[in-house]
């Protein structure tokens, strides 16, 4: 079985897996990291959204062989450490707005939100309605309005440097 190595939530990990095993199953079934959820398996619902080198990525569509040893994969479990706090400001914003209902999609929503705020900041602008409309993550409980509020609040906390 081929051996693959990459960085996961700040630590180097090595796994035995077929080249084409999608990262989602490497995380969930082999490494036991269950924050990223399965919702479709075809990069549509975005429930598995995590970060690859700080950008939103969907592990259900990434063969593990595509990862380089230096690639940093961050799941919801590793998000707080990226800011050296117990909770990332976006997670705190989610608590403040009491966003979650069943919670199944929320790790993916939060990871997508953090990446969106970062990207928008890099483009030197603030979050617009169009940015929020463009989020593709499904929430079948329909928490969308609170997600929008939480992203605005989280973005304000993160400040322009993010």
């Amino acid at each position: 079985m081929p051996v693959h190595t990459f960085r996961l939530n700040g630590e180097q990990v090595t796994v035995d897996a077929p080249d084409d095993e999608r990262l989602l199953w490497v995380l969930r079934d082999i490494l036991g990291v269950t924050g990223p959820k399965y919702g479709c398996g075809i990069n549509v619902c975005k429930a598995c959204t995590s970060h690859l080198n700080g950008r939103a990525a969907n592990p259900c569509a990434i063969p593990v062989k595509d990862l380089r040893p230096s690639d940093e994969v961050t799941t919801i479990e590793g998000l707080p450490a990226t800011v050296g706090a117990e909770l990332h400001p976006m997670q705190q914003a989610w608590l403040d707005q009491d966003v979650a209902q069943c919670g199944y999609c929320q790790p993916g929503q939060i990871m997508a939100a953090v990446a969106l705020v970062r990207r928008v900041a890099e483009e030197g602008r603030t979050i617009t309605e169009a940015d929020l409309d463009g989020i593709r993550n499904i929430c079948r409980c329909g928490t969308y309005p609170r997600i929008r509020e939480a992203i605005r609040a989280g973005a304000a906390h993160l400040g322009p440097e993010q």
């Binding site: 398996g41 990525a57 909770l87 919670g103 329909g142």
Partner: protein
């Protein structure tokens, strides 16, 4: 003055401090354990509806004996020595917030901080008979009193234990934040008092409950108790559980609804694929167990199966519509007075949650253990025992928290498959449906027509008739136990059961003279089930649209026209509230409009006002792989649930109901063609997405009215769907009659049905952003 008023007034004069007392139990246990009856312990009601067929499936003695125990049907509050309080809720948390509201009830009556209350979900408890079904927005309604009784009793016992220890009258003690304090600065945590307060023998004790004007927790907004677990990814769903050796398992499913396996030509080849441990033919397809779900998907795709026909072979939307038309009950003689009449069509919709159907099963020769999110766990347990040929007591069913339900988790399709596979291969399995399976073979909200006629004379409405005709809704979960479940499954019983359900769930808030609403059902070939709010969204949408048409004919304003016919103050209050908060009647650009609608159910009332933008530039706004369509730009919801235990939770439920209503009216449906549904992805089935979400939303939870919590979890769907439909009709100038309004346009390329699941993509790195 009513008799009740008179009694309470006289009572107040005679005994100013008397309060109604409730009976609870202190159970014999090493630490304080109090309880209250969720249901009277009696098997009588079940026995009344026994039919001979039941005994073939389940050992009745198992159930009846358990139900007859004196302490049967109890719900139990445990005060732990660490000062926490535990409660196993015989209901299922699927996002609706009942673990939070239940913790609030206990915190209120016990006088402890909410964070000390730990709510878990009870395993299936057959002795609870009808009382472990999560549905009908009934949880808080049915548990509000018994949970508080058990908690109040615990408080009383703790105070008494402290009084005895300190040799002080109870009246001199206080209890706050989980600590009992007394004269001389004495204090003790409830954890330290628990053993002393425990019962040496089980006894029945009476207790009074905190009066409503003393509430400090109930009625105040509280964040969800599992919010932190949800946002950190620590909340565990079925698929996240680590059950030893329960390896990923999926099923290769037929290309048409409920097709069966004829033969498999390459079993050996697929068994030899890397990571695959087992391949076995089961009732519903060919099951594959492998090291990862990724390997399962590849194996499912590799299987070469020939299939026998299913239960909807060759059927399409058009053919089912013909069946429905043929099954429609007559409207009766044409009225002699003027009338408005219309037929509305509602297409199939999916009640898929985001978490797909899934279950873990470990079946051994003499016992079985199952983990799944089940809203009717008693029926599941009984059906599983019957399927496996095991005694009821040998089957343990753990109820896990669910990633959404919307009616889907009333059934246990994945659990039945999981036990079948596990029994066949003698290994534990973690079984998951692919999204494509969930959409195509999963349960649906059945296609229906609703004919409505309103007879009127001048400004008087003389009569209202509605004939709702639907593909059969599977109510095979019964009332949550096997007796009514079987009654619902019997050919004759089912008609009575669904008609009864229909009549019990439908209300008529308007004074419309003689009114009759009837249900007829046809065609049991589809996998159906109750979807959030069941019949009400379609029935209410049809009614409200025709009310709008009648108002227009009479030259009346839709809000004032409705208001004039409302029967009660609560309905008028919510309607007035949305009209005022939503600035009803404000002038709006051409192509945009407001809509208003009302719905009453579950001892609750709701009104919704929306504004919709149907202008071409909005409808045609670019959205990749999705449906843009008319945009609901603003929504105002007012809801009176009698007493909102957690207003924040009610607000969340109403928001979700609105999102469902928008989807039902505008975008979400399944397309039936050649015996299968075309949808296989969230980018095929257009549930509301961010680009459909109203930028402006206000939810108003009305102050307590009845003082008793009504249902809230499904309440807002009907009025939301109806308000959106009415607004669409007013904005476009034409009353919509087919739902969702975009059903006629297929907005995606259907995926193949063989293999049944799409390949896992490999281009993820190209889409990193």
């Amino acid at each position: 003055m009513t008799d009740a008023d008179r009694t309470s007034r006289q009572g107040a004069v005679a005994r100013p401090f008397a309060r109604r007392r409730f009976l609870g139990y202190v159970l014999a246990a090493p630490t304080l354990t109090t309880a209250a009856q969720l249901v009277p312990a009696s098997g009588a009601r079940a026995a009344e509806i026994l039919s001979p067929e039941i005994t073939e499936l389940v050992d009745l003695n198992d159930v009846m004996t358990a139900a007859a125990l004196p302490t049967s049907g109890l719900i139990t509050v445990l005060v732990n020595t660490d000062g926490t309080v535990s409660f196993a809720l015989p209901r299922t948390e699927v996002g609706q917030g009942i673990t939070t509201s239940t913790a609030m009830l206990i915190a209120e009556e016990l006088g402890i901080p909410l964070k000390r209350v730990h709510i878990t979900l009870a395993d299936a408890r057959p002795e609870l008979l009808f009382n472990q079904l999560t549905g009908g927005s009934n949880t808080t309604f049915s548990t509000y009193t018994p949970i508080r009784v058990a908690a109040a009793l615990a408080r009383t016992r703790l105070l008494r234990a402290a009084a005895a220890a300190w040799d002080t009258p109870v009246a001199e003690l206080a209890m706050e934040a989980g600590v009992v304090t007394g004269p001389g600065g004495r204090s003790a945590d409830i954890g330290a008092l628990s053993r002393r307060a425990a019962g040496a023998r089980t006894e029945q004790v009476s207790v009074s409950l905190k009066p409503r004007d003393m509430f400090t927790v109930i009625g105040r907004p509280h964040g969800r108790v599992d919010a932190r677990a949800a946002v950190t990814g620590r909340k565990k769903f079925t698929l996240d559980l680590d059950v030893p050796d329960a390896m990923p398992t999926m099923v290769c499913r037929p290309p048409t609804i409920n097709g069966k396996v004829q033969s498999v030509s390459n079993l050996a080849e697929v068994r030899a694929m890397p990571g695959v441990t087992d391949v076995v033919v089961i009732t519903t397809g060919v099951a594959v167990r492998a090291a990862t779900f990724g390997r399962c998907i590849d194996a499912v795709r590799a299987l070469r199966v020939s299939w026998k026909p299913g239960t909807a072979e060759g059927k399409s939307d058009a053919s089912v519509l013909r069946e429905l038309r043929a099954a429609e009950l007559p409207m009766g003689l044409p009225p002699l007075t003027p009338s408005v009449e219309e037929r509305f069509t509602f297409h199939f919709r999916s009640n898929s949650a985001l978490e797909p159907n899934c279950a873990i099963a470990d079946v051994r020769a003499d016992r079985a253990e199952v983990w799944s999110s089940l809203k009717a766990p008693i029926v599941a347990k009984e059906a599983i025992a019957a399927r496996l040929g095991l005694p009821l007591a040998a089957v343990t069913v753990h109820v896990t928290e669910g990633g959404g339900s919307f009616g889907r988790k009333l059934f246990f399709d994945a659990a039945l498959e999981a036990v079948e596979v596990s029994q066949r291969i003698r290994k534990p399995v973690k079984l998951m449906w692919h999204r494509a399976d969930d959409a195509r073979q999963g349960r649906t909200h059945p296609m229906a027509t609703s004919r409505v006629r309103i007879d009127y004379l001048g400004d008087t409405v003389l009569g209202y008739r509605q004939r709702h005709t639907s593909v059969s809704t599977d109510l095979g979960h019964g009332l949550g136990e096997i007796f009514t479940a079987l009654a619902a499954r019997l050919p004759v019983g089912d008609i009575g059961f669904s008609e009864t359900f229909f009549q019990l769930s439908q209300s008529m808030p308007y004074d419309f003279g003689a009114n009759s609403r009837l249900l007829s059902e046809t065609d049991k070939g589809f996998n159906t089930g109750s979807m959030r709010n069941v019949y009400s969204p379609d029935v209410t949408c049809a009614r409200e649209l025709l009310v709008d048409r009648l108002a227009a004919i009479r030259g009346k304003d839709p809000y004032r026209f409705r208001r004039g016919f409302l029967r009660d103050d609560r309905s008028r209050a919510v309607l007035d509230t949305v009209a005022e908060a939503g600035n009803w009647g404000r002038s709006m650009p051409v192509g945009t409009a407001q809509g208003i609608a009302l719905h009453t159910e579950y001892h609750s009332v709701s009104a919704v006002l929306v504004e919709i933008d149907c202008r071409p530039e909005t409808v045609g706004r670019p959205v990749r792989d999705g449906v843009a369509g008319p945009r609901v730009t603003k929504a105002v919801i007012a809801v009176d649930v009698g007493l909102a235990v957690n207003p924040l939770g009610v607000e969340a439920q109403m928001t979700g109901c609105l999102m469902d209503g928008i989807a039902l009216a505008l975008t979400s449906s399944l397309h039936l063609r050649d015996g299968h549904f075309l949808e296989a992805s969230w980018d095929n089935y257009f549930y509301t997405r961010q680009w459909n979400t109203p930028p402006e939303l206000e939810v108003i939870v009305m102050p307590a009215t009845t003082g008793r919590p009504g249902g809230a979890g499904e309440l807002g769907v009907a009025a939301s769907m109806a308000a959106v439909a009415c607004a669409y009709g007013r904005a476009t100038g034409s009353l919509p009659t087919v739902f969702p309004i975009n059903h006629g346009t297929l907005s995606f390329d259907p995926k193949p049905t063989v293999p049944p699941v799409p390949a896992s993509p490999t281009d993820g790195l190209d889409h990193v952003r």
